[in-house]
Symmetry: D2
Subunit: 470 residues, 4 copies
């Protein structure tokens, strides 16, 4: 697949009065669905126990009205949507993961990826005889929390102690019968925010989930912070060991997050508009129309149009009804198949010089098809503009940016890529310009996929050895 | 429901060599899915018999890879997607309808609505003892064709004879084991076009379905025309009795059809751009940004922006993952629920004077919610512009424009509507200006919902008495 | 398949007060399940309409608690279980068949088989343009009733008129919104009885269905009789044209009916005990034990044991959990596969001389396997006794006794059959002795499958041409 | 529920050559279905991994042809059918339980019940931080095996070490990728036997499962024995610590096992015949006919008839089609509802003096209904004979014989029970006579439910505290 995928979104709620926690969670997950479309799950407190429902599919597939109606009102719930990196897409790996133990029972939902999950798992297996039921690093985190609970009465302390050995990206939501705990790794790779819904406390991967259910934004969870909320709404905050540096994944701003979210204080929409504007300043072109590749290039294209003064227009109609599993007739040649999802708007592009903006190029095959499609629809010139630098290095922290050999920019020069996709010109936003955009949350974000410099030591990490992150 | 729905799309294919007719049909229906999301069905020739598969749901729900794999290669197939007017949404009423009879077996798919179905059905019941199995007017058409087949050997002649009594809108595809026949009523209310796919002949409600599978457009089927194609590709055309006047439903151009379709020679996209431009000339306003209500107001908004010189921007993020059946938590107040589908893009609209363009207003409740949402997100002024005249009269020809008492424009003046939706200003494109748009296929289209003047006599027609059209 | 199958059972109920008609019908069908295991269906009056639920599978598969709970209390219901003769086992052919027409709406359930269904169907198709939706002769009967309703106001008269052309076996239950009508063909091939359930009137194929729901037996429906019961319990009886002779299918007494049923005044159990006794008198043998083949030979074996004084014992354990669709591993040789269903009781048969009683032999392959199994389990001698005469002729009246070439007795002498199944001796009850059994309802039953003499002229009837009977 | 239930059956197979292990296992489970009807499961080796399929329902529900076809040929498989004692009937508790660990992966299927599962589980949770995923004592056994595997390389040694702490009844099958291990507790409460299938080695709860697939019986697994079979067919036997005494559950012979099984060398059928004969000698009665309650009293009734010389007959027809979930109409009074399952054969019982034999009486309500039903059907006298002593004490070893207060014999004298069920006379087989039956495997069986004397110390055991046994 020639597309990038985020890996997971989380949401949680705790309320003094029993309410439709599961309904709110399902509604919130709907607006986090862009972060993961493979499985959906919710765990909720019910009469002192933790029940969960999870399955492969979209939120609306898993949480049908009849499933939702089986949940009574309750006081705590967490939910999860998932895209798996390594392909073992099975229901056992769906989250939240519920852990029942005579000391404590809890459910855990995870967005991110540990880079030392394998070693941690082996350690627990061999020293204590622990048996794992999934290939998910979320279960490794859960077992370490239980492991630490043997030595302390406080789950917050147990979590902080576990964080000493957990290496990687993790934004976690953990619920017990009477607590909801949010945890963000010390680097802050993935977003996590906190809100208020008519007195109930909620946490979500992105603020658009708060909007969706009418909750008010309170604040972001800080890197390295453990925020624990009790039924009566008391909030306790612990901080894990010293934070080396912040490192929000820059691709959250470029592509993963929804454009109406505000992450660590900055608007994703504004950041993308700025990327388009910087790109227009960096690489102008003469053209009749500026178009974005739906849906990922739309905002950057609008920014480019605003900066350049060239009119913004529509080049493609995207078919919203093509599901993941739909299989095109084998006789429809690959070049034609792209029409099924993106049909060129001939009346708009015929005879035009077009600036076409997209967020990134992974393998280049999709870009090549898109350019060919536009040419066949009569476009005169196609100037491709990418609102991020070229991918040169893999990501170890929860996205599926692949090993270098599969990245076209690792293997070809920009001119070679231009020839491969057959554009009249091709330009990428430079890393230097990307760093100038003031809407990026802080000067220090993680841009390892462009630079090869990561906030954590990844030596010895292999993509193959990795566990299922989320 | 405060939304308009088209009622049905059809596609058919006939090929000298057995091919993936069913796969092509499913792929084509995907691009007609906007015309009907309640049921999907395909009938296909298989070893001399006609097999069909149909069910409630989207094309991808009904035609899963495992269902598609059950169909072998074949030579003829027709398909249908459906939205039902009168609410009896059950699988018996799904199409195509297969009629097995010792004289002839055929399948029929219908887009439109008969206005005399009740009388025709009663006539066949009482004179001949015919038993009907659906409440669908497509079955009435099928029974009349059989009735006429008792008197002639030619199905084309039987169809032409049946057309003498069929009153209303109908674009039909009819298949036998070795023929594919396309029929369009004498007024031409609904679109129907013909194409070529590597030697096979195809018909579709809209040209976007041809693009989708890589077929080339040949021509539109003319009002009153019967086009019969045999396995070897021979095309015969018969014409029904004299055509009083053409009358394509103008709402196909305004809203129903997909923007990349060309209907009766004119681009839907261009027509909508023109509607926006005329609206900008007719009712200008001072503003910072022009936005469209997703998805129906996007093109007219672009036209308005182009004409007025005011920048085009995005006001709402639409959640693509909310399905038909998703039920919001009851505690989410109605006003908040609209956020689930359309979340305002605060970073874009805050402090702005906005021109908001939509295609129509039915009951006004959705418009009121949208305006309120924008105000809460910080918009300073909201100037609503509608790219069609006000609805004053019901539609009898296959859309669900309701009886007058449910149409806000029938009951309130424009100023009263403006107050109801709480916009700073509100304007509709005038019927006079609509008629000036040269991209509307011909001077004589059906605009009965605006004017109350219909191309056929509708006296005596009641919405209640009507059958299920399609 | 080397087994005989009955084709269908029917049940109906009408009550002045709304009651659990559907629940009673489902319960009654359970005790008629031996008459058909392929599909089950119930139609019931609901607020002036007739609703039906039918599907492939056993009664408990189709009428799950959740399905039953969807039916409210009502006043009239009929139900049906089905085994199809000709193999087209699809849900369209399930019954009851509901006919909605502006003159009258009714549902019909049928046990039996018309021998002129093909000709009748063709006649209605060609003269009136009638379209059929099933390949079921029950639909032909329904259409003839509608056809006659065009000429009279009385459904009872219409039924009597239709009976003039219907040729064959049919025990029918017909319901409208306010009537329940039972019809038995003039010969009386298939049983049909009437009962009282706390004031409600019920009809059933067999009396065991009355016992099952606690209803009292009133009387049998007479051959050629139409019994019409209204909501208030009024009973009207019409008689069709003169009855040539009675002709209950003798195999109802030998095998089809449940042993606790009373048909046309005689106990099925007693008849089978008598068959065993006559067989013991006709063909005695020296043996240690008399065993029946489960379940069809059990009663005749008990009769044989009583008459001969040889102890009755058990030879086989039948596995009750083997479903229709279970497929044995391909590596289990055919001879071993019979153990899965019938395992020999070694402790009981080892070293014994056994008289093994069964009701009939069709192709002989099952008998051969059973004899081989007993020998392998250590039986010393096996004397096979069959409680009916040899099958020599096909049945046209609703059972699947096949065309002559597939009947082993048509092709081989009794001695040849004995060798084929490898028994030490083999004897069949003679037709002469069968006719002496006073528990057979009357001297004139239909024994066409033994004698080739049928109560109706079957010349020109071909098994292949036949419709789906039931 | 007024019925006894056995808890579980197991089957396993290991073959040098890949074969239809899963197909054989499914076929074998079919003949063990009487031991458990709530869930079915199979685990099998597949390319070095262990795959499992398990679900609620009968074997034919879970292992449909399409499910079976997904398994390729393989070398090792084990299967399980289950009835749960304590009512938590959910799919998580279905077996086999697969344990994946970096030291060893294995699957385990269990028939029996531990009496110290709670304490064992708590110990592992608190000392090692082990997390349990079921409430099943089979998981406790699995975790103890892993726990012992930390200290040894041999799974057989680990099992023997675990057996030191496991207290209770357990017949286990354990598979790895290349071994199949059978384990029977030191008392030998539950049966377990070994067979040969064309070179492959198989184990099963009962010999009828060997017959079913055409395997030959080799020998029983001895109490306290661990039999380990490798792919090449090598058999190793280890013995656990000294065996105090043997103690096969006597109810296996009375009721649980299938009548064609041979357990620990003795025929179940012969044992039941003997129970009937002893009962006839102990408590004769004048009568016309001896009948058994289907299906549990049939063989003892035959023995009674043989001993007494009174003819054996049929009193009830059992409806084989009533599933577990079928719900009778609420209007069918409880007394009538029994007819749905057991309809009296009026023609057989009317006017007769009947000896009615059953295997046991638990609460007495079913017996009372059966007697009343026979009286209503015209029986003159009913003499009830029970082929086992009265239940006075609960069972802790894997059957659901309840706590004493629910056992009618604990609360009433035999005369009081006779009055309660309204029989003309009632007698139970005495424990002294039961012990005289030479077909009972050895003098020392477990008859704790009659005597209160158990082969293991049960002090401190409470029914409520117990885990899910199997």
């Amino acid at each position: 697949m020639d597309e990038l995928h985020e890996e997971c979104g989380v949401f949680g709620i705790i309320s003094a009065q029993p309410c439709e926690c599961v309904g709110y969670t399902a509604a919130a997950l709907l607006s986090l669905q862009h972060r993961g479309q493979e499985s959906a799950g919710i765990a909720a407190e019910a009469d002192g126990r933790i029940l969960s429902q999870k399955d492969l599919g979209l939120v609306t597939d898993v949480f049908t009205p009849s499933v939702l109606s089986q949940f009574k009102n309750n006081k705590v719930a967490i939910g999860h949507v998932r895209y798996s990196t390594t392909g073992s897409n099975n229901v056992e790996n769906a989250q939240p993961i519920v852990t029942n133990h005579s000391i404590i029972s809890f459910a855990l939902a995870h967005n991110g990826n540990l880079i030392n999950a394998s070693a941690l798992r082996r350690n627990l297996e061999r020293s204590n005889g622990i048996v794992f039921h999934t290939t998910n690093d979320s279960e490794v985190i859960s077992m370490y929390i239980i492991h630490e609970m043997l030595k302390t009465d406080s789950i917050e302390v147990a979590i902080r102690n576990a964080m000493k050995v957990l290496k990687g990206a993790y934004s976690l939501l953990i619920m017990t019968n009477d607590k909801l705990i949010a945890v963000r790794d010390q680097i802050g790779f993935r977003p996590l925010c906190m809100g208020n819904l008519d007195g109930a406390t909620v946490f979500a991967s992105e603020t658009c989930a708060l909007d969706n259910i009418g909750a008010e934004f309170i604040r972001d969870v800080a890197p390295g912070e453990i925020v624990s909320v009790s039924l009566n709404g008391n909030v306790e905050s612990l901080q894990a060991d010293s934070v080396p540096q912040r490192g929000l994944c820059v691709f959250e701003m470029i592509y993963f997050a929804r454009q109406d979210s505000i992450i660590d204080g900055e608007s994703v929409y504004n950041a993308r508009i700025q990327m388009g504007k910087f790109l227009a300043m960096q690489n102008p072109a003469e053209a009749d129309i500026v178009c974005g590749v739906p849906d990922s290039g739309i905002e950057a294209a609008q920014g480019y149009a605003q900066q350049s003064g060239i009119p913004y227009g529509t080049a493609f109609v995207k078919n919203r009804y093509i599901g993941r599993s739909f299989i095109a007739p084998s006789q429809i040649a690959r070049e034609k198949a792209v029409h099924m999802k993106l049909n060129p708007l001939r009346a708009s592009v015929k005879g035009k010089r077009i600036i076409l903006v997209d967020d990134s190029i992974v393998r280049g095959t999709t870009s090549a098809q898109i350019v060919r499609t536009l040419r066949n629809a009569g476009a005169k010139e196609i100037h491709m503009r990418i609102s991020s630098p070229p991918f040169l290095y893999p990501c170890y922290f929860g996205t599926d940016i692949d090993s270098s050999e599969n990245l076209i920019a690792f293997n070809k020069s920009i001119e070679e890529i231009r020839k491969f996709i057959d554009a009249d010109s091709l330009e990428f936003l430079s890393l230097a310009n990307l760093q100038k955009i003031k809407q990026l949350p802080q000067t220090s974000f993680c841009s390892g996929c462009f630079s090869g410099t990561y906030p954590l030591d990844v030596s010895g990490c292999s993509m193959k050895e990795q566990f299922e992150g989320c």
